[in-house]
Symmetry: C2
């Protein structure tokens, strides 16, 4: 490897790890007001790293936690990359399941264990230090680079979209880079080519005006718990297909080539089944497990509450029954339209013996990255060089809502380049990040800058 930046990165590995440890020690839990200063300190850490490396960097106050931006735009005629990351973390609970303090980063063999190790400080710092080392070693970057780092990702980024709308010119770019996801598996880097959207609903069925004695009134008054069960169970048929009229109208079907590529991914269904602990897998007829999780819309019951739920027997005919359920959406399903279809459908099938209220609690748009763009091609070449293995395309069942916002507000696509692993315990105790992934991630982003400059 003759690349001087790669050589510089490799010479400095101890410092990279030490910097990550320093960042991970800051308990930047965005959801807890008591940690507001820590979130700001974590942002200051990023600001210092970027301004120290020669970026024009700034911290911006918002109605919540601050946003950090930075830019180096001295490559006229070259593309501009906007690097997104976040420096806030999930709460560490349940804290007693950690092997050590969640904010006492500990190296265990090949991995570093701490809250935020993979989500997202480890991945974000790989990008920051990779690019900073490029600038420090080379004196310039091959393309223009901007950074947008936030402290509110774990609480739904309430202030980021307004911030982007107020800084359209400063954030203008050709493509976004996000490393807040995973590789396909160990030694198998991947580009995430789609993210699902979300439509999260709540339905409340009301029967009698108060709880009744099921002996005195049972059989004469419709039971709202029974109606709720009937409504929810009818939303999916025995083939695992959602029955809401119009639900599949806007679904972009997988192409034969995409299905073939998914079929080629190494996947051990039995090991998967065992890891989730079910007697048998189940999903939409006609699709594989990876197609179901990655590329098909789904519907899940998320919560049920009705009547007596304590120990033993209480013979109540409940007044109300509540159900929460959500649909994961794929391109080009629109969460607002789906919420409307769901509401109309439930209202139309609710029996005249009850009343229902259907609420749209939360939504997010699906994202499909155009895989034929030069940016994606560049990212694949960079991953192949950085990891020494050709990357595969993967489809993520979860959502990263800000990616849809980038498309909508800035009009640009996102390169979703996961540096972590599926089993890194994001949001769980003993969150970890493989140091090898950290170092390869830095090298990969250096290659990415070169490839994007071509």
């Amino acid at each position: 490897m003759d690349h001087p930046v790669i050589a510089a990165l490799r010479a400095d590995r101890d410092a990279h790890v030490q910097a990550l440890e320093d960042w991970l020690r800051i308990p930047s839990v965005s959801t807890e007001p008591a940690h507001a200063d820590d979130v700001r300190r974590a942002g200051q850490f990023a600001l210092d790293a970027l301004s120290g490396a020669g970026f024009d960097a700034a911290m911006h106050d918002t109605a919540g936690h601050p946003v950090v931006t930075a830019s180096w735009c001295d490559a006229p005629g070259k593309p501009t990359l906007l690097v997104y990351g976040h420096y806030d973390v999930q709460p560490p609970d349940p804290i007693d399941l950690w092997r050590h303090g969640p904010f006492e980063p500990t190296i265990e063999g090949e991995v570093i264990v701490a809250r935020g190790a993979t989500d997202d400080k480890g991945q974000a710092l790989a990008l920051v230090r990779g690019i900073a080392t490029y600038l420090a070693t080379n004196g310039s970057l091959p393309i223009n680079v901007k950074f947008l780092l936030e402290g509110e990702e774990e609480i739904g980024s309430p202030n980021l979209e307004p911030f982007i709308r107020e800084h359209l010119d400063a954030l203008a770019a050709d493509v976004v880079l996000v490393s807040d996801c995973s590789q396909y598996g160990p030694e198998q880097p991947a580009l995430t080519v789609s993210l699902k959207g979300l439509c999260y609903m709540q339905v409340t069925v009301t029967g009698p005006s108060k709880d009744l004695h099921s002996g005195s009134f049972g059989g004469a008054v419709e039971n709202p718990g029974h109606v709720l069960c009937k409504l929810l169970s009818s939303l999916k048929d025995d083939d695992g297909r959602v029955t809401i009229p119009g639900f599949y109208d806007d679904v972009v079907d997988l192409t034969d080539a995409e299905r073939a590529a998914i079929a080629e991914l190494p996947f051990d269904a039995d090991a998967y089944r065992e890891s989730v602990g079910v007697p048998a897998l189940h999903g939409e007829t006609g699709f594989s497990t990876l197609e179901r999780t990655g590329a098909r819309p789904t519907l899940d019951v998320n919560g049920l509450l009705c009547g007596w739920t304590g120990e033993g027997a209480k013979t109540v005919l409940p007044s109300k029954a509540m159900g929460k359920f959500s649909m994961r959406l794929v391109a080009n399903q629109d969460p607002d339209r789906i919420a409307r279809l769901v509401t109309e459908h439930l209202e139309s099938i609710c029996p005249p013996t009850c009343t229902i209220v259907v609420e749209d609690l939360h939504g997010g748009k699906p994202v499909k990255v155009p895989t034929d763009s030069p940016f994606v091609a560049a990212a694949k070449r960079a991953l192949a060089k950085g990891f020494g293995v050709e990357p595969v395309d993967i489809r993520e069942g979860g959502s990263i809502p800000i990616v849809a916002t980038f498309k909508e507000v800035l009009g640009i696509d996102t390169i979703l380049m996961g540096l972590g692993q599926n089993d890194d315990n994001a949001h769980s105790p003993n969150e970890k990040f493989n140091l090898n992934d950290y170092h390869r991630g830095m090298e990969t982003v250096v290659h990415l800058l070169d490839e994007l400059a071509e």
Copy 2:
């Protein structure tokens, strides 16, 4: 009215009311250990009333609250009546909905308001004082009379069946009298000719071994909340019929005469619908509301619990889903057999993607009183004399499990002669008892002794 006992009763009405007030002042809440002494004091009150009237009375300790028995058996060759009642009460909660202290009996117009007013101190004391006045006035009773009064009815009578089994000879009788129910309506006395039984089940559906992220795993792993909804909703069809194979096998159908009698009962379906606050009534096709509540077996969801039930959205694919449901049974359905049928059926329809555990939480046998017995005929004549109105037959959707025990252990039927009203707020705030019903109840039991002596 020339009957000297009736005259004596009418001359003493203030004392009857005062005695009831004294009994109602004792907070004999059987479920609260702190009130154990109060329950005993309430039993002592009954003991004193009966022994003071010339009965051979005793209080018996049990593993729980005491049982009070009494007997007067100097009418050789005449039938023996066993009078059952209970002197414990429900907790008064929610206490802030009472117009005054629940144990400060207050006369409001025609009614006395206090916890226990109708359930069962008021009704039981009508029987006690009616019979005691008979003995005091007449020097003897026209039949043999025994009393069995317990302090654990509101907690399921755990010690009563063992007590009965240990005192078979002492409790031997020809028929039981229970006044722990209601008339059909104001100015419409009734004999309750059937009580439903109960089979109360709980089903737990388990899918993945822990809660999963519905984005990452949704669509590939069966959702136990969805399976629970499917299982429970399938237990009843669109005609309101229970679908469990064999469920109706042992049902004794109503005769044409019984259906005609039910159809003749005054019933305002619209007022009923409004009183429960539903947009429309609903039940088993082919049966009227009174047939459904009184004479047809039913199935109700009593509780549902699964996943996230707090505010807002949590995108969980839950590991477990729990449902409680119960069936009200009619003669000759057996709760143990029904529980077995339900368990087998649910296990057979549970998909292979989940596991289920089905539990039998509670059961009770249905009761059908033979309406052609001389005891029932005597009770009807007594009610007609006591209330001045011919009684009707009614069927109760609720259960009084001890009645099935009397049949099983003592081999005798029960006269179910409700003195209260449906709207007396048993188990609810501002429980009440109409003083007119109290006084007419005393006179009715006097007539009943005469009629049984014929």
